[in-house]
């Protein structure tokens, strides 16, 4: 029984150390990924929330961002989307949105595209059988 206790103590000590060490590594590996489902972000399709506390949340797609938006609405100060044409950040209410046959982020089947200029949105709409949609973040 004494031998059992010794093994048990050693087991517990090793377990606690390895888990605590593992947690630190895991936290680092999650950084730079979508704040909704942890997927690696393609910068061209990213969405950013600037929160009232000064922090930022980033998402891999408009689908993930809109699912989070419904839960974080009160905390969000500004939503920024990325213009697919120029790859620059644009304020969400000023952007143009098109839903088309092109899937940007396959795991959520996101078909909504954001553009900074109306002409780019129209070009995409005509080329890929799209339709204009409202700003998903209001």
């Amino acid at each position: 029984m004494a031998s059992n206790r010794r093994w048990m103590t050693l087991f517990i000590v090793l377990l606690v150390i390895s888990v605590a060490w593992g947690c630190q590594g895991e936290r680092k590996s999650i950084e730079g990924r979508c704040d909704y489902d942890g997927v690696k972000i393609e910068p061209i399709y990213a969405v950013y929330f600037n929160l009232r506390d000064g922090t930022e949340k980033k998402f891999c797609s408009i689908v993930c961002a809109s699912m989070s938006f419904s839960k974080l609405k009160k905390e969000v100060e500004e939503v920024m989307v990325v213009d697919e044409a120029s790859e620059k950040r644009v304020s969400a209410p000023q952007a143009f949105y098109v839903e088309s046959d092109v899937i940007t982020v396959p795991h959520v089947k996101n078909r909504i595209h954001a553009f900074g200029h109306g002409e780019d949105a129209m070009k995409h709409l005509e080329k890929f059988n799209g339709r204009r949609v409202e700003n998903p973040f209001y």
Partner: protein, 333 residues
């Protein structure tokens, strides 16, 4: 079909298991029937020799099937990059949802049955008269049937999953508000269900560890008590799964709105060890009950208490380890 080292290993193991499960299952059934009849000493010796050969081969097959459960998930994980839209194992399961769901249901049952049988086999081998021989043969033929279904399913799945399949992954399925894992606790605790569910899990888990500890301490191994413990461990397992999906997995992943256990394994790999400890702990409680149920006969009854003590000691250890890992994760995070 997606070809890689793991899928080839799965198919090879599957084919081998199908062949040996048919042979082993039928052989054990025949031996079970013959074992009952009185026979001459030479016939008895021949019967024993054949039984040992069947056991020798089937033990290897069963050990391989034990490893097959984690290997199944490792193989699915290896398919992620080949399936468009899959970001975790959940996406891969959507390529053949019906068959994968069946296999995910059957594999833990087989793991439990095999573990229970191997303990009985070990108990029987510690005796001189092998009083559990007939029961072992009958159980082996039943397990052979399960192994056959499982192995055949593995082959069908490996052959059936087409590369470049387009699937939807977990985000659009496990995070919708009408998911069963959310609506069930909401029905009991209301919309603010997270905290009560968390507390309930800790209570049942600690209670289970406590009951197992008390049984060990006072050597209470009466069958009705072991049966109740087994049922309680199943209830605890259900609560574990529910609280993991709804509360702990999102917390451990730092993704408060994402409820996918497969993503947890991916982003927090040491959680796999926690799940392994939990499964072994819960199954050990069940194995204690099945060992008492099938092993209390003749000479085996004498060694049984010692075996039960060891099994429940493992249950206590593994359940405590799983709980400790969970607590450390929640505290460090």
């Amino acid at each position: 079909m997606i070809l890689n080292a793991l899928s080839i290993a799965m198919i090879f193991i599957g084919a081998l298991s199908v062949f040996l499960a048919i042979w082993g299952g039928i052989s054990s059934l025949i031996l079970y029937r013959k074992w009952k009849r009185p026979s001459r000493p030479e016939e008895k010796t021949s019967l024993e020799d054949r039984s040992y050969l069947v056991f020798l081969i089937m033990v290897i097959v069963l050990l391989i099937r034990l490893i097959n459960w984690p290997l199944f998930y490792v193989t699915l994980q290896s398919f992620i990059s080949d399936i468009e839209g899959a970001m975790c194992i959940f996406g891969v399961t959507q390529a053949k949802p019906g068959l994968t769901r069946l296999l995910e249901f059957v594999k833990p049952i087989i793991f439990f049955l095999i573990g229970g049988w191997l303990i009985l086999h070990r108990l029987d081998r510690s005796t001189k008269t092998s009083p559990l021989m007939r029961r072992k043969l009958l159980l082996l033929s039943i397990i052979g049937l399960f192994v056959l279904v499982d192995a055949f399913g593995d082959i069908l799945l490996m052959v059936g999953i087409a590369p470049e399949s387009l699937v939807s992954c977990c985000t659009t399925v496990t995070d919708i508000s009408s998911r069963a894992t959310r609506t069930t606790p909401v029905a009991f605790f209301g919309p603010e269900y997270a905290r009560p569910l968390q507390v309930l899990f800790f209570i049942t888990h600690l209670a289970l560890i406590g009951f197992v500890g008390v049984s060990l301490k006072f050597k209470i191994f009466r069958r009705p008590i072991l049966g109740v413990l087994f049922l309680f461990s199943l209830l605890n397992a259900m609560l574990f799964l529910l609280s993991q999906i709804e509360v702990f997995a999102p917390a451990m992943m730092h993704l408060p709105f994402h409820h996918c256990v497969y993503c947890l394994w991916q982003y927090v790999p040491d959680s796999i060890a926690m799940y392994l400890f939990f499964i072994l702990g819960t199954f050990s409680v069940g194995w204690g009950f099945t060992t008492d149920l099938f092993g209390k006969i003749g000479e085996a009854s004498d060694s049984l208490p010692d075996y039960l003590r060891k099994i429940y000691w493992f249950a206590f250890l593994f359940l405590s380890a799983a709980l400790m890992m969970l607590i450390v994760h929640l505290l460090v995070d």
